[in-house]
């Protein structure tokens, strides 16, 4: 078979044209130990992060390690991802590394670190496609939120009960199939009838803007990566209508 070497009239490799030159993380601390921790987080190396944190805990306050080593390291990873330098797995591995480091610091503190807010995540009843939810969980964890992960195939009543019990600032729902996303308006209606008007961010393969904005509380999440910024808006006081108006439409 003949293969054409000139493909310019057939397709355009936009990925080659926009390839970002690889950049490393910025220097975030003049302290050697804290910089080393940030580097380990940015490398996504859980084992080395734990070693570096254990070593630093002999000299430093756990909160200093968290706020001046672990979190700044993760922030650098988020920046590089935003800029198109890092891919998702690097963010997930870095999130795992940061969480492992925070766990060690919490043990030393004797209490859990105060989180920005609680968020409940779930995948719709009848649906087992939860990779999107896993990504949302990792990104929210990485951004300092407490994630209550209800898992996959979660019945409507279980979601509602969890919201009443935990009082989250935001609920997320993931669905790949059109026949499972029909659970979302039912959940929203139940929450609304109880006057529990939290933003309900819905996303996933079959889920579309028209569907989600067709019921109260619903905000369409186009990408998993939007979740931390949406949660950040809620912390700044945005209610579900404002969130919808900013992210949808």
């Amino acid at each position: 078979m003949k293969y054409s070497t000139d493909t310019s009239g057939i397709f355009t490799r936009f990925d080659m044209e926009i390839e970002v030159t690889r950049r490393s993380i910025r220097r975030i601390s003049s302290d050697f130990a804290l910089q080393a921790i940030a580097d380990c987080v940015a490398d996504g190396d859980e084992e080395k992060t734990e070693e570096a944190v254990k070593e630093a805990l002999e000299q430093k306050d756990p909160l200093e390690i968290i706020h001046e080593g672990l979190i700044p390291g993760m922030n650098e990873v988020s920046r590089l991802w935003d800029e198109g330098v890092y891919f998702l797995p690097q963010v997930i591995l870095s999130s795992d590394a940061m969480m492992a480091g925070i766990k060690l610091c919490e043990q030393k503190l004797g209490k859990p670190l105060k989180k920005k807010g609680k968020i409940i995540t779930h995948t719709a009843e009848g649906d087992i496609h939860d990779i999107g939810q896993s990504i949302v969980n990792a990104l929210l964890n990485a951004d300092g939120f407490e994630v209550i992960n209800l898992g996959t195939d979660v019945p409507i009543d279980v979601v509602v009960e969890a919201c009443l019990a935990h009082k989250p600032i935001m609920l997320t729902g993931t669905a790949l199939m059109t026949t499972t996303m029909s659970a979302f308006p039912k959940i929203a209606a139940k929450l609304k009838s109880m006057n529990f008007n939290i933003p309900f961010v819905c996303g996933g393969g079959a889920v579309n803007e028209e569907f989600v904005t067709g019921f109260d509380l619903g905000i369409w999440g186009k990408e998993a990566s939007q979740a931390p910024a949406m949660a950040g808006d809620i912390l700044e006081g945005a209610h579900w209508q404002e969130l919808r108006s900013k992210w949808n439409g």
Partner: protein
């Protein structure tokens, strides 16, 4: 189970759309892989229609009728209708059965009234969630097998998109972990498929139905969709391509257990399977843009026998309902390929399909007939274990990706690929040693149940 140790096709040059070395004939008399490409339409019910059996039957009755009617309207001579079960249809095996019987009747009516040749593929939903139930012994497993029994009575073809290994795969793919991907596909997926497909083939033989095939959708398509297009940043395309090659060795198990094809449409690994088995395969590409984008819209048709749309939700378009519109589109695609055969231009037509996407990205490249054949050859030449052949497929895939200067890949994609190769090279030679390594590494992954795979 004997692992394949030879290629059905002696050369990739012999592989062509519409023709398979081992065609199959359905109970309605439709020959698949016998010289013509046939459209395969997959309608999906609207949200809310799953409420009751009555509403769901009505939805499928309309959707399937619309597709059959459009074929007659525009003169498409043959069609396969596939209904992929939504969970309600497998959770209530009678639902799946009723819809199968209803569709078989519709097909018969169109045959009597117009002479339209059609067949029905029932794809059972794999409701066995690896992280929740024992894949071999659970209520969900019993329902899956009962659904196969009931649907096989009236369906022409039965299939499934099996989920074994998905819990480890999902954990691994977002962590850039090629070891976990290999474990989930070769060991977990392979073992689950052998267990499941032995039973499916037994049912199909008893019910005089065709055991079609499986797909690596739950793993390789997840990777391909995450790799996305040219501006996506979820995972590298090179990782998705390696996953596809590894996944081919897994999907092949269905045919080693006795499935005869046609393979499932969303199995983008099917060109590799066709090269090894000589069986007819269903494929999807540009025609499945209604369900998802991909970078191999035309090349994937190069050796197809059925040409499918993956899934389209039932609703109205200007030109009619979606099943009608997509049946028309698929049928015209098939007509173009069949015209090429009639004129003796099939090689030229195939070259156009391949050149459209061969260098568009890693997936299109490795699924070009020549490269798909070479990956298949690596699989059959390493038939001593599932692990050996899956790893060999990955090495061959990487060798091909790095070996053609016309395939451009970004610096990061290349660096990632070299990293995966380094990891693969560091893995043990023997399957048992690999399993020991992975059992230690993944024993604490949420929901992983070694018992589901006959592992301790």
């Amino acid at each position: 189970m004997k692992l394949s140790d030879k290629m059905a096709y002696e050369s990739y040059a012999d592989m062509m759309f519409g023709t398979a070395i081992k065609p199959v004939t359905t109970k309605h008399g439709l020959v698949i892989g016998g010289g013509f490409v046939i459209p395969e339409i997959v309608p999906h019910p609207r949200p809310g229609s799953e409420k009751t059996l009555k509403t769901l039957m009505r939805e499928f009755e309309r959707a399937n009728f619309d597709a059959l009617e459009r074929c007659v309207l525009v003169g498409h001579p043959a069609i396969v209708i596939e209904n992929e079960h939504i969970s309600q249809m497998t959770n209530n095996p009678d639902w799946g059965m009723e819809i199968t019987i209803q569709t078989a009747k519709q097909i018969e009516e169109f045959k009597i009234k117009y002479g339209l040749k059609a067949a029905y593929r029932a794809t059972i939903a794999d409701i066995r969630r690896p992280d929740r139930v024992n894949l071999r012994d659970s209520e969900a497993t019993a329902k899956v097998l009962e659904s196969f029994e009931k649907c096989a009575e009236a369906a022409d073809i039965i299939s499934i998109e099996s989920l074994g290994g998905k819990e480890i795969f999902d954990y691994s793919i977002i962590r850039n972990d090629i070891t976990g991907i290999l474990f989930s596909e070769a060991i977990l997926g392979g073992r689950d498929m052998e267990w499941l497909w032995t039973r499916i083939v037994d049912i199909a033989e008893r019910k005089k139905c065709i055991a079609g095939g499986d797909t690596d959708c739950a793993r390789s398509n997840t990777a391909m969709f995450m790799a996305g297009g040219f501006i996506s940043k979820d995972i590298p395309h090179t990782l998705a391509a390696l996953t596809r090659a590894i996944g081919a060795a897994r999907t092949l198990v269905a045919h080693e257990c006795g499935a005869t094809g046609p393979g499932k449409d969303c199995g983008y690994e099917n060109p590799i399977l066709k090269a090894i088995t000589g069986m007819p395969m269903s494929m999807e590409g540009k025609s499945s843009a209604c369900a998802h984008p991909d970078l191999c819209g035309n090349v994937i048709a190069a050796v197809c026998d059925l040409w499918s749309n993956e899934a389209v939700a039932y609703h109205n378009m200007f030109g009619g309902t979606t099943p009608a519109v997509f049946a028309e589109i698929l049928g015209y695609d098939a007509a173009a390929m069949n015209s090429a055969v009639a004129l003796g231009f099939q090689k030229e037509f195939q070259a156009c399909l391949v050149n459209s996407d061969r260098y568009r990205g890693p997936h299109g490249f490795i699924l070009s007939p020549d490269n798909a054949w070479h990956i298949g050859k690596a699989i059959v030449e390493n038939s001593r274990s599932m692990y050996a052949r899956s790893k060999a497929a990955a090495f061959k895939c990487a060798e091909l990706l790095l070996g053609d200067p016309n395939l451009r890949i970004t610096g990061y994609e290349k660096e990632s690929l070299l990293g995966y190769l380094k990891v693969l090279e560091s893995l043990p030679d023997e399957e048992n040693d690999f399993i020991d390594l992975c059992m230690r590494k993944y024993k604490n992954v949420n929901g992983f149940k070694p018992d589901s795979y006959g592992l301790q």
